[in-house]
Symmetry: none
Subunit: 214 residues, 2 copies
Amino acid sequence: MPGLRPRQQQILDFIRAYRADHSYMPSVREIQAGCAISSTSVVDYNVRILEREGYLRRSPDISRGIELVGDEPERAVELISVPIIGTIAAGSPMPVPEVTGWPAEDVETVSLPPELTPRHSEQLYALRVKGYSMIDALIDDGDIVVLRPAADPRDGDLVAAWLKLEEEATLKRFYREGDRIRLQPANTQMEPIMVAADNVEVYGKVVAVIRRLE
Amino acid sequence: MPGLRPRQQQILDFIRAYRADHSYMPSVREIQAGCAISSTSVVDYNVRILEREGYLRRSPDISRGIELVGDEPERAVELISVPIIGTIAAGSPMPVPEVTGWPAEDVETVSLPPELTPRHSEQLYALRVKGYSMIDALIDDGDIVVLRPAADPRDGDLVAAWLKLEEEATLKRFYREGDRIRLQPANTQMEPIMVAADNVEVYGKVVAVIRRLE
DNA sequence: ATGGAGTTGGAACGTCTGTTCGGGGCCCAG
DNA sequence: CTGGGCCCCGAACAGACGTTCCAACTCCAT
């Protein structure tokens, strides 16, 4: 992506510099001030272009909702050890990570190579899949799924969810549709299921699946 | 700083998880929703405490102006680096590991954690799966399969095989039946296929499957 | 000139968001 | 009982913020 007008380059540089100083993102008006632009609409105009060109992403109607792409912050280079805190099966409750005294002594762990490690790896945990109920998510009996506590999952994320009414754990892709939620199997040939938003409890977002064979 | 009320711990966990998913910080009302709190003032109250206790910093009057203080170190363990020598798809020939001058310079690699490393890890290689032809083996597009050259596969092994007549690469479980070979999909609901022994060339035995999700 | 595409400027609208205020339970020492 | 921390609730205020609309400007090929 070569073509980038000076104004856009200037804005991009400002955002990068701002990001180095603060852990949150600049607002439109801060960009305006920092780049000596006389109107917020000019910022919006150029930021739109930057988004269209793939330099960043925006979350509409969200303050400071700019995300830089290709600028993965502080990816850990070393091997991460993730505790396997239990099993997940269709009909049995999922274990949830205990917040207190997390690094227990005797839990089994799995190590994640750097290539698999997401941006923030502090609170990862893993579950061993029991049974064949996740077949539609291309997940086999015995697989290990690595999860991250999901605050406010985004559309399309593969999440581990607990359906309260059905008393069932499931791994599906998450889509918000008004006050309901569509859970879409990873296997696209299968039909999605619709559930009320207050019937689904999202425990985590799947960041990796590991299968070890004999 | 030991004493941290459950509500505060909950909020802290939510912020950390949110931060892992988004590059910007959650708003007070998002914390409220994510922690099932019924008022923004409760969030403000507890976030104030978290700030006073030194867990985070706030920039007043700034949307999403929360900054987490302190991040954790990681540990390093020994891990095996496996070259990804190519892709495997249904209709195209599989690459085979070159025995000579193996450690090429510019090949992509994937690191295997110790738990995944089999006994003899010297000649491991990996392929990236292209397309959805391995769905019946519960292997998705983009998955990485780690292989070991299989001199004499045992019954039940999951092998990467090349069907000469059909000119097709496939991942199936291997069963010898007289002078023919039964290739059984991992998905037990699907029918096995029978091929003549001299029509199948076993390239390797799958020792691990790794799937990384965004 | 002339027109269009790309860009800037100014202002306003509506919402998002941090913050504050008054009130109300709960628990325990006095 | 009384009072005071401690925590939660609902509502509202004021400012921060993303977004939109329209006019004007530059540049360039026609």
